[in-house]
């Protein structure tokens, strides 16, 4: 190993009281994984202070703690000779001036030239060329240090966003050679294995809609909630769809309207009502005001592509924009119509809407990289919060309109009738134990971000509902479904305040235990259930 995981490994052992399990190394295991313990806290306090002083860290954001008065969380971005180190970030929790915890990943021993050989414009052109026809560079390229996947070292790169008619990609271009080092889609899809087909309509439940009346026309603009929330429809227009991805611009002319205040477009109704529910949940339960905790706008887009045009689309397009929902960044969410055979309108599921908007929360907090373990954490967090939101608004039961432990049960038409199960991931082919981690470091599902998410979300299920992990045989009592929000708060606190862009499963374990300690105490039942749940799924 070129770099060694120093204090972190010791810290993890001290925290869990167990030896590290024999788990497959993550591609970024060379980074220094930071998880403070009471014993190491004083040392970390001094080290963070020193790194701030010598410029290895700078404060990028200070978040007030909406759950504990007096606490703040500082996000400290790693820099190298004034350039950002992509993915390097520590999150410091302070109670007044007292350090409470430190989490994150730090990349030590960087030694690369910071002088680019090519210009930002040339790098952007390289990225656009790599993306293909009709692609355009968006925003300003950022020069920084990229820790390469697989432990290959550090590379001076330009980070460039590239938009194409059907995608938004983030490229890292070698600032010396102009070669593309890595790239990944920024569009966060919900389902990992979509299918193609034709189907029926939307669910028949009634929801209230907070809309704007403009003359005799009603617009799907929520004026009652503090955050502006819009629901747009592209009405299946391919040209509008392509324009949006190319320009990143939505128009007020896209806002869904109705000539009466009785709305009949189910996709519009559910997208609009449920995005409001998600805002309400985060506000009431987590004390959070919108995606960025500052009432950032939410713009939901329905009918991006028409079912009638399925024959015109490639399987990828159908998979991503018909049989899928995706968070697009900056508060934009897109819900496919479903092909009618495998999926129906995806905005019809409250947990799916909660899942996508939680990606927005992640975007404004931990910024978990949608790749490998960190991506799986992001997907797991979205599933966890989507489920917690469903439990908050719906009575517990099975099937559409009920709170349950499966995702997308109302909109998944083909067997098994849901997308993922938190209760029994294996029933749908997903792993339920860390030993079954798959596709890390590959391009399959961005390194298995959806597939591996169920290891984490299953831990959440066990901590709440209780049960026995299929692989480990470890039984967890759980706090009971009626107390689901207690555990949801723990995960929310850990994922939004303590994790960073490159956090791994073990970081999530440590962070949730820290959050449980913060909220309920180290000797609490909640702490014990979360700890046992992580043990059960093999993250220890």
């Amino acid at each position: 190993m070129k770099w060694r995981a120093l204090a972190l490994l010791t810290a993890i052992v001290a925290l869990s009281g167990a030896r590290p399990s024999a788990q497959p190394p993550s591609p970024l295991a060379q980074s220094m994984d930071v998880a403070s313990t009471p014993r190491s806290l004083a040392g970390w306090d001094a080290r963070v202070h020193a790194m701030l002083t010598d410029g290895q860290l700078n404060i990028s954001r200070i978040q007030r703690d909406s759950m504990l008065a007096g606490r703040v969380h500082e996000r400290l971005n790693q820099t190298y000779k004034g350039l950002p180190v992509f993915g390097g970030q520590l999150v410091r929790q302070l109670d007044g001036r007292t350090l409470v915890s430190v989490f994150g990943r730090f990349f030590p021993n960087i030694s690369v030239s910071t002088q680019p050989a090519i210009t930002a414009g040339a790098a952007a052109q390289d990225a656009v060329t790599a993306q293909g026809p009709d692609a355009v560079a968006s925003g300003t390229p950022v020069l920084g240090i990229l820790p390469t996947r697989g432990g290959g070292g550090y590379v001076l790169t330009y980070r460039i966003q590239v938009r194409s008619p059907t995608d938004i990609q983030l490229y890292y271009v070698n600032a010396t050679t102009g070669a593309v080092v890595q790239h990944a889609s920024q569009v966060v899809h919900d389902t990992a294995s979509p299918s193609v087909g034709i189907g029926t309509g939307v669910l028949g439940d009634q929801e209230k809609m907070s809309v704007d009346q403009s003359g005799s026309t009603y617009q799907a603009v929520d004026l009652l909630r503090p955050a502006p929330e819009y629901t747009l429809t592209f009405n299946g227009s391919v040209s509008r769809f392509n324009d949006f991805f190319t320009t990143g611009q939505a128009s007020l002319s896209d806002v869904a309207t109705s000539s009466s205040n009785t709305w009949t477009d189910g996709a519009v109704v559910d997208a609009h009502a449920y995005q409001g529910f998600v805002y309400d949940y985060y506000y009431k339960v987590m004390g959070r005001q919108g995606l960025d905790d500052a009432n950032h706008q939410v713009i939901s887009i329905v009918h991006p592509l028409a079912r009638a045009d399925l024959a015109r689309f490639s399987p990828d397009i159908i998979a991503n924009y018909v049989n899928n929902a995706e968070y697009l960044g900056s508060g934009y969410v897109m819900y496919g119509d479903g092909d009618g055979t495998h999926f129906t309108y995806l905005s019809g599921a409250l947990d799916v809407v909660g899942h996508e908007l939680t990606h927005g929360v992640t975007d404004y907090t931990s910024q978990l990289v949608e790749q490998d373990e960190s991506g799986a954490l992001a997907e797991a967090f979205s599933d966890i919060m989507g489920t917690a939101i469903e439990f908050y608004f719906r009575p517990e039961g099975t099937g559409p309109g009920k709170a349950d432990w499966v995702i997308g049960e109302g909109v998944t038409l083909s067997p098994p009738g849901y997308i993922r199960s938190l209760a029994d991931p294996e029933a749908n082919g997903y792993p339920d134990h860390y030993s079954l981690l798959r596709d890390i470091g590959t391009n399959v599902d961005n390194g298995g971000v959806h597939e591996n998410s169920t290891i984490v979300s299953h831990a959440f299920y066990l901590a709440v509902h209780g049960g026995t992990d299929r692989v480990s045989g470890i039984t967890v009592q759980g706090v009971g479904d009626a107390n689901i929000q207690e555990i949801a708060k723990i995960f929310y606190r850990a994922f939004t305040f303590m994790l960073g862009p490159d956090s791994q499963f073990i970081d999530a374990r440590n962070a949730t235990l820290q959050a449980a300690t913060d909220l309920y105490g180290a000797g609490s039942s909640q702490y014990t259930q979360v700890q046992q749940a992580w043990n059960a799924v093999g993250v220890q």
């Binding site: 009634q206 209230k208 907070s210 009652l224 503090p226 205040n261 409001g276 309400d280 506000y283």
Partner: protein, 262 residues
């Protein structure tokens, strides 16, 4: 609290009656005095009174508003309150001690209503937020037309007692609460009563009246008197889009004033 005006009205009449009775016992009859009590030579008796009307029992409005695409129950308990009474009567001798008469009364009072409503949550069905408040300044006006059979009972040369009874037509104007104005802030878990929207409704109903009028002749044609009457009818107050509201009209009326005999 609510019966005090009624008691006061009765007390007033009682005092007048006692005074009249006492006067009847002690006042010496003189040839030059008033004409004998009873109809005597007079065939018409006029009376005007001012006094109080104790309102009939309170009533309750139960209606349903439409707020945020959902039914919002509204209950208003309207209280009672005494109001000023102005009354005029005309009696005509028919035969013996009997006569026929008509009286008109006008009363006005300002009531208060205790408002309780359930305001639906703007985002979800089935979550009502209770609001409570008082709607004040509710005006109630009653105009009564009382047809009366009269029986005149002389007490002595100056004092006589008129018993009356018959049907009444009561015309009621009443301010009703037809909507509730409330304030709320996100997340809209609660709402606060701000004011009530009032609508004035009008309705007539047929009822009855019974009463006693004690008069004391000062001269042959002029006297003073006091009356007490109980009248009552049940009116169905109409509210647009809602079931009508059943309310009692009338009540105890007491007054004193001038009497003219022709």
């Amino acid at each position: 609290m609510r019966v005090r005006p009624l008691v006061s009205a009765f007390s007033f009449v009682f005092v007048v009656l006692c005074a009249a009775g006492a006067g009847a016992q002690t006042a010496p009859a003189t040839p030059a005095g008033p004409a004998p009590a009873g109809w005597g030579s007079a065939t018409v008796r006029l009376g005007v009174n001012a006094g109080l009307q104790a309102g009939a029992s309170g009533f309750t409005e139960n209606s349903t508003l439409q707020i945020y695409q959902e039914n919002a129950p509204l209950t208003v308990a309207y209280g009672t309150k005494s109001g000023l009474l102005f009354d005029g009567s005309l009696g005509v001798h028919v035969k013996g001690r009997f006569g026929l008469g008509v009286a008109m009364s006008y009363s006005r009072a300002t009531l208060a209503g205790q408002v309780h409503a359930g305001i639906p949550n703007p985002f979800v069905f089935g979550v009502l937020r209770p609001v409570d408040g008082t709607a004040s300044g509710l005006r109630r006006t009653e105009i009564g037309t009382h047809l009366q059979a009269l029986y005149l009972l002389p007490m002595n040369r100056r004092v006589d007692l008129m018993l009356s009874g018959g049907p009444s037509i009561l015309y009621v104007q009443q301010d009703l609460v037809t909507n509730v104005n409330f304030s709320q802030t996100y997340p809209y878990d609660t709402a606060t009563f701000q004011s009530a929207t009032l609508t004035r409704v009008k309705k007539s109903a047929v009822g009855f009246n019974v009463g006693v009028d004690l008069s004391w002749r000062l001269t042959r044609r002029i006297g003073v008197g006091a009356m007490v009457r109980y009248t009552r009818a049940t009116v169905s107050l109409p509210v647009t889009g809602q079931p009508s509201i059943s309310a009692h009209a009338g009540g105890f009326q007491a007054g004193a004033g001038l009497r003219l005999m022709f």
